[in-house]
Symmetry: C2
Subunit: 491 residues, 2 copies
């Protein structure tokens, strides 16, 4: 066997690890320091990268220096810079030092957590941190392990939706027979995130069975309990089986909040699984002044929210809590001889492979645990509140300019606004021009939404590095571009 | 707005990033240096962690020193050490410096890649690296972007299976009507990974429609084309609709390889979607001497393999290639106003949200790209070959000891063996005792498999740090424990 030992290839060598990690940390640190120099939204054209990089893998090892040079020269120009303080698009994806080092620990230990025994600490820390996070949100104890519910970390809301839909589906089909799958109906407002449609279809329920219920300005684009009740009654009359209701706390387009309590009472009445998607605004609910948006959560079957959006947790991290873990497990369990072990058979442990789509999982819990401890509730609340304060300020700047209007009342740190229509020119056209001009400048990046037929600009405040001066600059930029557009609109 | 600026809370500060990253790298480096001191499989009891850690999140920030101390004192003892050179269980999860720094880059840039525009470089590098990887495996060009197919990075095989099953399902149901979902049939051998069953049920196909076809010793536990053909014919006669065949290159229990070419011809004949799951052994196919196991891949519709197992890529990373990207996209696309953008509407770009379950995705491509470049094909092949060489050597040690036998012929770096039954004592009992004794020693961790009714021990060689001396020590340990067990078995 001598010849093997002679080779010096050691892909996990300590000194190299230290040296190369330092190079990368310095690189990332420089990136953050210079991030405002890049156009926020990438300006490259489709296909730009294949002209810059080889079409095949190298045969010989290359140095990290060369690789980092390529990242600088070829990758950075093609990034849309989510960590830029001038990023106001979609929803923010909060990076933080704590999230970064949490990821390093996760990646360095590199365990695979499918069963308890495959790394007990990973399972137990995940259960613990899900209870922590649940308590921060003041969830009823029925969602915590300490109250016979429980939580699991997924990578995305879509995964959480797929798993809860499957659990709800299987509860009903077990009783009524699998051929009833074409009769199951899923309810949500027309503001609900596209993941619900995707998830519904993924679990085998026809897209035509999704009821995308109308909302309107008058209710701030929240789902009306009466509309829901009518839809359910109609479906029952037509022989459908009401299955699942997804209510949202902080919708993507405009930050609307569905009335959880009233919807929950209807869901209970018809024995419908109620899921609360608080992907964005869930993080705000750690502050007492926002927690009321979750009132009625005790009527839900499951709740999810994404610390990777607004809670200083690097991608990816989605928290899902369920009241009846056995419903999830019933749907998602897998039984294979090679996974059998004494701990599982004792029924004394959580095997997270039965709580999610994939069998294997990363040690994400470590990241969230580091994020929570390193900041503490106090700084996490400070983080949310300072973003909301900036958003309020931005909202007031917009409101004080007669050319503009707020389209949907702000609830969190998302401001939905537009240029008022002028001289008979369609508001949509003006605001498309405005958004185009702002984004083309490279100095900021915002996206748009449409609600009630109205096209508006979304200013999502909350990138980790965003300070007052960036919001101030954004407003100046918007005003500058608006002036030109309006000037042209009058001629 | 003055009061906000006054606070010094800066969760993404450069100096802190450097200092704290260094602390964590030193921690990880020490962990690797001391990893052999820990029992490989954790010895903690269920519930051990909740006794050690607070039940609620702290209000005030805590120092990283305190957190790392808790990782040392409370987390490490509860880990099953996948990076230990004495880890021979399940399949290895290869960490490497390159994978680690690749993850750091991904986590530091922290972009969210759902659409091309949300970070063009992330999308384009993913397409590029999937073509690189496809070429390393010598996949037909029909699976590469350069040949009108294409690839995507998922987190796990189960996600890849769910997406391809949904694509196959929707192609058929679009033609035949959604109520035929209960008639769709999925085929695989009884050695196929549990993810296929999980995935099938997830996409709404009844579990009873999975044909788990028998394999036997005589064919090395590979799926017999004749058995498949008969099953299909039977199903057609009974009014079922053959949908999907999952063939495996390197099964989990014993590393069996299904005959892709023969199975592929049958799949073509019946218009069945053929997926090749090469999660484990796909990595070996970068070496010419193993590539023949993929012969016939040109007949498949999709292929997946996991660099996070055996290709020095830290968790998680699963490559999926498809010949007809539009089939995937048809099933998984989501259309929401707030995601609309000019690039998408040009139909000139890849939007990876339509190739996977989640909308959002991490910049995993950067990690795989760093791994491939930092090692080069030459060292990646060296890595595979040295593990296979060690496995051959271990196999010969076992084969030369008359008390033992090889249960299934070794193809890659997984050795399936057992103590021969003795004195009328059931082989399963003896080998359970042996596995228990080895794992209880803390000096190594193996798991078991069952095939053809025979219980055996699995020695999966290939952890990044495993050297000849560790395999040698493992064999000594096995012999030592076997001696005691056999001595007691005779009394």
């Amino acid at each position: 066997m001598g010849s093997l030992s002679a080779n010096t290839f050691s892909p996990l060598d300590s000194n190299t690890l230290k040296n190369e990690s330092k190079m990368v940390v310095d690189f990332i640190s420089d990136y953050y320091n210079n991030i405002e120099k890049y156009p926020v939204r990438s300006e490259v054209q489709p296909g730009y990268l294949s002209a810059k990089l080889p079409q095949s893998a190298p045969c010989c090892p290359e140095s990290l220096e060369d690789i980092l040079k390529d990242v600088s020269d070829s990758i950075l120009p093609g990034l849309t810079h989510w960590q830029s303080p001038n990023f106001f698009a979609y929803f923010q994806a909060n990076a933080s030092n704590a999230g970064f080092v949490g990821e390093m620990l996760c990646s360095g230990l590199n365990i695979v957590g499918f069963s308890w025994i495959s790394s007990p600490a990973a399972t137990e820390l995940e259960s613990l941190v899900m209870d922590w996070m649940g308590k921060l949100l003041n969830l009823p104890s029925s969602f915590l392990f300490s109250g016979n519910g429980g939580g699991v970390l997924h990578g995305s809301t879509c995964e959480a939706i797929v798993c809860t839909l499957a659990a709800a589906r299987d509860k009903v089909l077990k009783r009524m027979g699998w051929d009833k799958i074409t009769k199951l109906v899923v309810y949500a407002s027309d503001q609900t995130h596209a993941t619900l449609h995707k998830g519904t279809k993924l679990v085998g329920i026809p897209s035509s069975n999704i009821r995308s219920l109308s909302t309107s300005f008058s209710s701030g684009f929240s789902l009306s309990p009466q509309t829901l009740q009518e839809a359910i009654e109609n479906d029952i009359k037509s022989g459908f089986i009401p299955l699942f209701l997804c209510a949202t706390v902080g919708t993507t387009a405009c930050g609307a909040v569905d009335p959880i309590k009233e919807l929950g009472e209807i869901a209970k009445k018809y024995n419908i699984w109620l899921h609360i998607d608080a992907a964005y605004a869930g993080s705000a609910c750690i502050c007492p002044e926002f927690r009321h948006y979750l009132n009625g959560v005790e009527l839900a079957d499951s709740v999810s929210m994404n610390p990777h959006k607004w809670l200083l947790t690097n991608m990816d991290c989605c928290c899902l809590w369920v009241k009846q873990p056995y419903s999830l497990i019933d749907s998602l369990t897998s039984d294979a001889e090679y996974l059998r072990n004494a701990a599982t058979e004792s029924n004394n442990v959580v095997d997270y492979k039965d709580w999610q789509i994939a069998l294997s999982k990363r040690f994400r819990a470590l990241k969230l645990w580091v994020v929570i401890r390193r900041h503490g509730l106090s700084n996490l609340m400070y983080h949310i509140r300072s973003d909301v304060k900036l958003a309020k300020w931005f909202e007031s700047l917009v409101g004080n300019d007669k050319r503009f209007e707020i389209v949907v009342p702000r609830r969190f740190a998302l401001v939905c606004f537009r240029l008022k229509p002028k001289n008979g020119i369609d508001g949509s056209k003006l605001n498309r021009q405005l958004l185009f001009a702002v984004n083309e400048s490279g100095r900021a990046f915002m996206t748009h939404g449409v609600a009630g037929g109205v096209y508006f600009l979304r200013c999502a405040i909350g990138s980790t590095l965003t300070e007052e001066r960036h919001v101030s600059e954004l407003w100046k930029l918007i005003q500058e571009k608006a002036q030109t557009i309006l000037a042209n609109a009058t001629t």
